[in-house]
Symmetry: C2
Subunit: 323 residues, 2 copies
């Protein structure tokens, strides 16, 4: 079934250009590298980040060549994090194709991620000024910090909702936010419009990650096209779990601790059944919805037009998606 | 014992500035990140790459602030490759401290490497133009390709000397070469001087890697301060092995194949004893020496002075080092 993001839209032509810029940058004459890149191509999904960048540009001005380039850059950054996440999490399945680390080992996956990030910076520094490179690199610093924080707090039942939000702002929302910031700024928007779009991207990213974490507990691999239950498997506490623990008595906490240290592969199911009926999932979805409301509130000053419409549609997709 | 690179030299003050620029860039307020960075600091060794960059600058003009920044950038890139190499090779020991992957796991090591490379690009894009960022990113593309080629040819007894040289030019010499190129270019050297220094860095890098590969077979962990015997362990054919195979009869080849697929940890010793007395090690060292002769031939147009002297000393160190 096509998602709302896959139907006819004026943005599709620009997204095709992003794909072409992506392919032109990472092409390799080396057979082994080219084969790996073919595999990575299958990772390419809904192009959420380039989409945000282009829609923001169009909503405040118009899409220029730099936006196409930056769209390819942010997608490369995103794909590099997916590839390296697969090393981290030993995920078996990603977007319905075998994950890179399962076919070429951790070594190949590390290097392929490095290769993508290197090409992202290479392409970004083809632009006239260092401004975008500087912002993108600052964001990748932040993303790494978010991931490192997450590792440091693995299995820590004392992780608060505030800590969780801090982690996902860094590891996910920083990138969606900079997409909107650069989209607006590069289109020549004024300071206040850039700030609004930056805030939109930040709220949307937080909502996106909350929903992602909910889907990891509630969706099937077939729906999401990637491994599910990985957070519990890796001891990563997400919002539904944090909510559950807030209202838990000592017995519940003990059962949660036991679920989290049960056999690999059983953890998610056991955590899921503990949470069932407690309202923890619903609480997390409500939180995501309120971030989407906040996100769209930053769109109120935009002029009417298809780009503004599509930003609303994208926000709606984030909360409704099952993949 | 101090190496020739550690004695008093006019370059030391500038290298201190590089260290300070490095520390200022990667400082983190996050406790877990800061602890990891402390560990990385112990990786910092002879600062070969910043040294080449600074000496080249001084040899053709004078060291400017940009050189200090670029020195920190290339050291970050180099350290990122060390950290990710540790993931790849599961090395237990690196520069006499526990390797990152043994203390924080593969996940932490992948992220820490990502963090270093991200900061390298962040710092590099603080410079006025995109020129250096573009070159550095092009080189990191090349380094990844070299590493990927190496993985693809693991255990392949048909690897030729030319293939080997192609791999090490990419994975090692591309970075030392760009150090010399950017050192000269940023100092305002003319085209021909930049080309000479680029060629110097390329030859020196090739020699460096050949010697590194010889030391992996012949030195002790205590001498090098890092794991040895890793190449054989990982099925990476290096110049001495390639030379051995060139002159080998079918029996020798069979014994080599058996050594390479023997128990992990025994491989290097078995490969080493096969090579012993065949002249293969000596052949590789002779090749390294000839690259150093070629490297220094590119220095002939430099004006006399301490920087030129130190470039010769550095070239000499590359061939004589035991670490």
């Amino acid at each position: 079934m096509k998602t709302v993001l896959e139907r006819q839209s004026p943005i599709n032509a620009a997204l095709q250009e992003v794909n072409a810029a992506f392919d032109a940058e990472v092409r390799s004459d080396l057979r082994f590298v080219a084969a790996l890149l073919d595999q990575v191509r299958s990772y390419r999904g809904k192009l959420l980040r380039p989409r945000l960048l282009l829609l923001t540009a169009e909503a405040v001005g118009r899409i220029r060549r730099e936006h196409i380039v930056l769209g390819a850059v942010v997608e490369m950054v995103h794909m590099a994090t997916l590839v390296h996440d697969d090393v981290l999490d030993e995920a078996d399945v990603r977007r319905r194709s075998r994950s890179v680390n399962r076919t070429v080992g951790n070594e190949g996956a590390v290097l392929l991620g490095d290769y993508l990030i290197s090409h992202a910076y290479h392409l970004c520094s083809s632009l006239g000024s260092t401004r975008a490179s500087r912002r993108i690199a600052a964001v990748t610093n932040t993303v790494c910090e978010g991931e490192l924080m997450q590792i440091a707090r693995r299995g820590d039942l004392a992780l608060s909702e505030a800590d969780y939000l801090e982690i996902i702002r860094r590891k996910t929302a920083a990138l969606t936010s900079v997409c909107c910031e650069l989209g607006a700024e590069t289109a020549g928007a004024d300071q206040s419009a850039v700030e609004n779009m930056t805030a939109f991207g930040m709220d949307l990213g937080v909502a996106f990650q909350i929903v992602d974490d909910v889907l990891d507990l509630t969706a099937t691999e077939n729906e999401t096209g990637k491994s599910v239950g990985r957070d519990a498997d890796m001891g990563k506490l997400t919002l539904p779990m944090i909510r559950f623990l807030q209202g838990a008595n000592e017995g519940d906490r003990e059962r949660f601790r036991a679920a989290l240290s049960s056999d690999h592969g059983e953890r998610a199911a056991r955590v899921g059944s503990l949470l069932n009926g407690t309202g923890a999932i619903e609480y997390a979805m409500e939180a995501a919805r309120s971030y989407i409301v906040s996100a769209t509130s930053h769109l109120s000053n935009l002029a009417d037009g298809w780009a503004r419409e599509e930003l609303f549609t994208t926000a709606d997709f984030v909360i409704r998606r099952r993949q």
